[in-house]
Symmetry: D2
Subunit: 335 residues, 4 copies
């Protein structure tokens, strides 16, 4: 039985708490720390059977009975807490992005060197049933050698403009999942990025120096070309699709819906909207990533999403920002 | 070059005229006869390059240069004209149903005996791209031995109540196509019929002694069970689908639409309605059935839909009427 | 916190144990009874935190701390145990069918009279996301007045022939869900049944006096016609679809799959098979039915599936058997 | 009755001949000219009822009874013959591209000035039922203001490498249709192009200095971003899809297939491949573009695809080539 400490009791921290309690075998949440917990959050934590609730996350790092920590705090603290946790001998599951700074991510990497500790990054979409099926088809050779990767990733509603600055902008906050997905789907790395972007959803986003609509072209190390299209607002909800085209065929996914029911009437056929947002759409993947993290610790095997993936995704995001600023293709090696 | 005469210049006669003129190789329409032609019809016929327009269909039967006739007159004249045409040495393409009376259909069959003449019945749906693909899958063994056949056949709007009596009612007018389809899809015959029916669309139909909604169960000679569901009015248009389920799998069709375009918005995904009615939905099949008729004559091969199919479909329809009247399963052998 | 006792630790008993432990708020399993439990089952029960494991279900009925029992024992004991539980003052959730005998079901009904106890029948499919969406569309008037109901229900593999006799045959074991679904989808009752059936899957089933393939026509009290098609073996897996057609349109469902991924290659487009069988397909519904059962007790509201539904479904099944035996439509009032 | 002369009796010339003969009202082909006609071609032309067959296209230009000419000769002769035809007072329908040289296209434009002659470019895909439905949805405001346009355009098989040079390469030969489609779908122009391309299908194509796989990003004058993905070889056939995403939703098309039949078996669900190539996929659009051309002449209205569209598409293609050569985004104003 693995003892887990969760640092950060926000939305995603609670999701992980619930997943571990109900669905992850051989693991339990021993303690949760967050300096800003309200009564409702505390009640929820207690209802999950967790007795140790702390303000200070160091209580978790100092508890020798805790084997692993989930870093679910705000992004600017991810790398620091990760390093501290590693130095305290804990396995770490860190939410994405590990940091906005390459330097700080490299510090985490250094801290891991020579230690037999697991470090997993929270790219949950790799564990999604649809995207995992695409990767499985690619691995099985069903589409041959990959030529073109297409990822559609559109949010149902833009974030609060105040959040834009904190989050590092669309590429570090939202597209970072798609950058990781591009690498995951064809098991390769990105070499070059070009972005054509615009502010079409909300001028307030542009005033923050960010964009809300983008077509991003990636050149992959395996020769494949990739295109991601992003929007901060799809009127019909969360649009999350992928397609990989190769020498022998293609594999593609559609959005998940609440039911398969369709209505035919004088207006035609109407089917349901996609599941609303990431909590609805990806709930199963949040559970799966933790099952695999716990398994990797239990059997001392490689984690499915390591620090390299965390590093690469931020490099691509920074290259994307540079591409917007300089209006040209940018090589990852420039970052 | 086969010379064809068309008897009856109503809707279906004109469809055949246009098909032959534009799409049927090695055939041309030499003459058309109809006692009730308006100016517009005559103009249309002339625009198709047909110079001989007659009131009396016997002008066609007496023309030794005419090789084949299409009987597109009113149903009550089909069998009589067919017999006359056969006796005049013409190949015959006869619209469905051949007659409402088994006796009269048998007269046509007798007339054909010993003569090397082709007689084809206008069950055009056999030539439809979707239904032909189902039959091809069955023939190719893709679904194994057929167990269950399902046919959905719903019209977009009921006929004029005045037409109900003339047409012989829903089973002889509308379902007759589905009876033939059942036999066609699994290449077998019907042994027994049970109908559960209702008047749900229009009470005026009930007042004519007919029904407008039905679930019809058929027992096929090859052991398969079949169910047809009919409605005289589908709010979303013409619904024409089939499914055959067997020991190794199933094959099923969807409705055809004007385009594949779908719109996603805050109400979900909306796709187009089916093509409106039989002229839109089955136009290609009207051409194909005539190509095959002409080919059968040219190469002296069997027609794809012979008098037996014309006979069987009417037998099933009469059994269906009897099933409604006596509220019990009725064997075809009783008819 | 509601204390629940589970009687019967077979497959479905374990499913309910897991559901309650993980997903049903305000309820817990206090005890489980089964005379034939193996070590693996006991270990599973303990892993769910249940300490009281009995051979004799009367230990549960006699425990005053237990509020409700789930009757998950073999069918022939359902009604007897239900009556005993009711007389012991317990709320009862009883697996389907309540009994093969109308008389015995009526005994359960009598036992309930005058007592303020909840009795729910395990027609879990009513809680399935797809079928619930169909009913919701019907209730919302989206398809107008229902005219035709179509239910496809095909199992991926036939049961062991030895099980056929015990189960009461296909109609009482398998189709009973579909009979209940017909009533549920259009919120009406069945008046008459006609069955056309065959043994096409496995002759051993026929040797047991049962059928494995059927087309069943129902006449509903609200005037709608319904057709169910059943097979004990679909090569492509568990086929569970429904369609309701009405005066303003239709609503239909498709099968659920593990992912939306499709592969295009030189053979065309290939999508996944349906989820394999009822545990995969309906897992979410097993949880939902118990949530609703617990809620009905907590708030003293009507259960969503009462004894009347349990009674009616068996009446229809018995009428279906009679229809096969006598080869004629059978009214429910005859049963 | 409009008299048409066809210059060039290759594949597309024959397609137009057949379309006009069978489907274009108020027009007929009076003469066809081609210096390299084989016996089969001549026989086909005669079977369409065309008596005048010339080696020299000037016979057509000099015939005062001919109102309009279709320029279906090799690309390098399009602009010269167009200018001659215009100067001879003929309306012109010119296959795409009008020329590889902007200068020569401008010569055609100049020739048209001050003359009341129609000049239409053969961008047939605008007349396709699927793409026309997308444009109609955009025009009807169904998706609001366009933000993202996505076009998938993949051929089933690469051309003969020898053809690559003559054709001007992928952008001028194949993608040119997609460039026009981008402009058509959102009724705007292209301002900037960026291409990420590769040789993944056939090294022989690379040896010709061309590419066979590309992701092309366009910035449109109306602010929308567009991405085209191209491949010279899709194993599953001709892949022709489009999607327009906007402030209120999105509209998308799927590929056309020969039938809607799907087979379910132990491997899942299998649907048909797309229609094989452009003659199968776009046949209806070839007819429609000519109907509209003839109508524009008859009613002296604007042609649906004028010289500006012919010019713009070549400008975009040349910008795309420059983008590949210089590995940077290229503005159309640079061309």
């Amino acid at each position: 039985m693995l003892n887990i400490g969760i640092i950060g009791a926000g939305r995603i921290g609670k999701v992980h708490l619930q997943s571990i309690t109900y669905h992850v075998k051989n693991a339990r949440v021993k303690a949760i720390a967050d300096p800003f917990m309200d009564a409702e959050t505390k009640a929820f934590i207690e209802s999950m059977g967790v007795a140790e609730i702390h303000d200070d996350y160091k209580m978790i790092l100092n508890d020798p009975a805790i084997d692993a920590v989930l870093v679910c705090s705000s992004t600017d603290t991810h790398s620091t807490i990760s390093v501290e946790a590693i130095n305290a001998g804990k396995h770490v599951f860190c939410e994405k992005p590990v940091d906005h700074s390459i330097e700080k991510i490299l510090k985490v990497k250094e801290a891991l060197e020579g230690k037999n500790l697991k470090f997993q990054v929270g790219f949950n979409r790799r564990f999604d049933h649809n995207f995992a099926a695409v990767r499985a088809a690619v691995d099985a050779g069903k589409i041959g050698r990959p030529h073109i990767v297409k990822i559609t990733s559109r949010d149902p509603a833009p974030p609060n403009p105040a959040y834009i600055k904190v989050s590092g902008g669309m590429f570090l906050d939202m597209t970072i999942h798609d950058f990781d997905m591009a690498c995951f789907l064809v098991n390769s790395e990105v070499e070059e990025v070009y972005v054509q972007s615009a502010v079409l959803v909300d001028p307030a986003i542009g005033e923050q120096g960010d964009v809300d609509t983008a077509i991003i072209t990636l050149k992959m190390a395996n020769g494949a070309l990739c295109v991601i299209d992003n929007s901060r607002k799809a009127a019909y909800g969360y649009d999350q699709r992928a397609e990989v085209f190769g020498s022998l065929g293609a594999v593609a996914t559609a959005n998940d819906t609440l039911s398969t029911a369709v209505v035919w009437n004088e207006n035609g056929l109407t089917a349901e909207k996609p599941l609303y947002f990431f909590l609805e759409r990806y709930m199963q993947s949040f559970t799966k990533e933790l099952c695999d993290f716990v398994d990797a610790i239990a059997h001392d095997t490689a984690v499915p999403v390591g620090i390299e993936a965390g590093l690469q995704s931020v490099q691509i995001a920074l290259a994307a920002k540079k591409s917007v600023a300089e209006h040209r293709p940018v090589k990852i090696s420039e970052i």
